[in-house]
């Protein structure tokens, strides 16, 4: 086992991407999150997620059926919070409306499908994406495929125990926690050394913000 060495970094990793859990990555406990497989306090994960979203050229939120549909009061509240987050970043919203295999193909402009999420990521040149309201098994499938075939950084805002296969995952995500993430985005945007969306360099050059937030 390579439990101490393995990091859940953005891909493209491989055609047969190893499951992060198999590589020794464990899920965070309540009050924690993980960044690339390393367990961190929740607030730190929120801050890092906010920074990634601000820096991204094409940040995109992928809400799933659990928040797209007005099932109950909680779903409605969460939908409102997600909209706030999307407006604050600002991020595009492309829904994962269902999980069925769609033939002959999906329209990557309007949706993402868990069976081939890479198509939407590629088409829209997404560099950071957020999964929220997607059922666990479909989120795991999608996150692994994205890590395998794209360079997109994945953030899972999970209402349950989190996702090992995301590059960053929070757990027990409530509408309030999403709003806290939006607050972090707002706060960091006001700091001059965090680059605004659309200004991230793709040449791998070190960014000022990397130094600021480096451990």
């Amino acid at each position: 086992m390579q439990s101490e060495k393995y990091r859940v970094v953005a891909g493209p990793e491989a055609y047969f991407t190893p499951g992060a859990a198999r590589m020794g990555i464990v899920l965070p406990e309540p009050g924690e999150g993980h960044i690339e497989g390393q367990i961190v306090p929740e607030e730190e994960a929120l801050e890092y997620a906010a920074r990634k979203l601000i820096e991204a050229k094409n940040p995109t939120i992928h809400p799933g059926p659990l928040v797209l549909w007005n099932w109950n009061e909680k779903a409605a509240k969460k939908a409102k919070a997600i909209k706030v987050l999307a407006d604050v970043i600002p991020a595009r919203i492309i829904p994962m409306a269902d999980y069925r295999p769609k033939y002959p193909k999906i329209n990557p402009e309007v949706e993402i499908n868990p069976n081939h999420p890479n198509l939407t990521i590629w088409h829209n040149k997404e560099d950071v994406c957020v999964f929220v309201g997607v059922h666990c098994h479909m989120a795991n499938l999608s996150l692994k495929i994205i890590r395998g075939g794209t360079s997109c950084f994945t953030i899972a805002l999970c209402a349950q125990a989190g996702h090992e296969d995301a590059n960053l995952s929070l757990r027990d995500v409530s509408p309030e926690k999403i709003l806290r993430l939006a607050e972090w985005v707002n706060k960091l945007k006001s700091i001059p050394y965090v680059r605004p969306a659309g200004r991230t360099s793709n040449d791998g050059a070190e960014r000022k913000s990397d130094k600021v937030f480096a451990k």
């Binding site: 797209l68 549909w69 007005n70 779903a75 939908a79 829904p95 409306a97 309007v110």
Partner: protein, 298 residues
Amino acid sequence: MSKEKIQICPEFSDIMPPEYRDLVEQSTYGNEDRGWKDIGNSKELIEAHSLCAGCPESMAFRYILASLPNPEDTVMVGSTGCTSLVFPMVAVHNIHSLFGNQNAVASGLKRALTVRFPDRIKDVVVLAGDGATVDIGLDMTLQAWFRQEKFTTICFDNELYANTGGQESGLMRKGFVAKMAPTGKKFDKVRLPEIARESGCCYVVNLTVSKPSLVEKVIKNAVLLAREVGPTYIQLYTPCILEIGKNSMEGLQEMRDSEKPGERFNYKEYITDEAKQYLADLDARKKAAAIPAAQLTE
């Protein structure tokens, strides 16, 4: 659940794929008089399918889904076969059971729904092919009927195992030669409608899907009777045009030919006196309820 429950969060209504917006705005959930004539005027509960072009099963699916009296409170149980390729595209709750287990799964489901929602009507409809219903799942099919489990069993009878290449099934007619049954079937087609009747089904119908109005009436009767009276069984001929050497356009004619007098899918209906009385009472109540409304409009 009602149509009010099937709503998109307003924040996302503009970014939802169009088929879902249509489902909310134009589908027939909650409409008690829904039927096959809504096809073309409203959003169907089947989005798309990956069945072969001209497959009669796709027609059957569309008519059945248009005829369910209570789709928002219906759970369909399917099994392995061509039908299982369609279920992911259907906007009705559905469960894919292990091959042949569909009536056992439906039994438990119906009982659980009755306990969980005592004051709400929840329909369970099994929809499986002839392999699952008659060969591999015959035990489960019969036992559910013996126990008088209150749900509808629909068998899509294409008289062979279609999506595995054309093997012989119990419902294949005697003497038929299929790709994987080159010597021809040696024994008669299993007479499941008669077996269903003897096993305690209160309503049994054997028909094709060539006449949508008839299919609608039969499906509605079967589901309504299964709520109160007892198990019901519908055997629908949905020929596999590929396996019987027909073209896409010939499915309908094949069904018409097979429902002629004396043919194996000539319309046959069996209904118990109790079931007949129940339907008559239901009809009378519906008419009585409609009278004041008619008077008001005069």
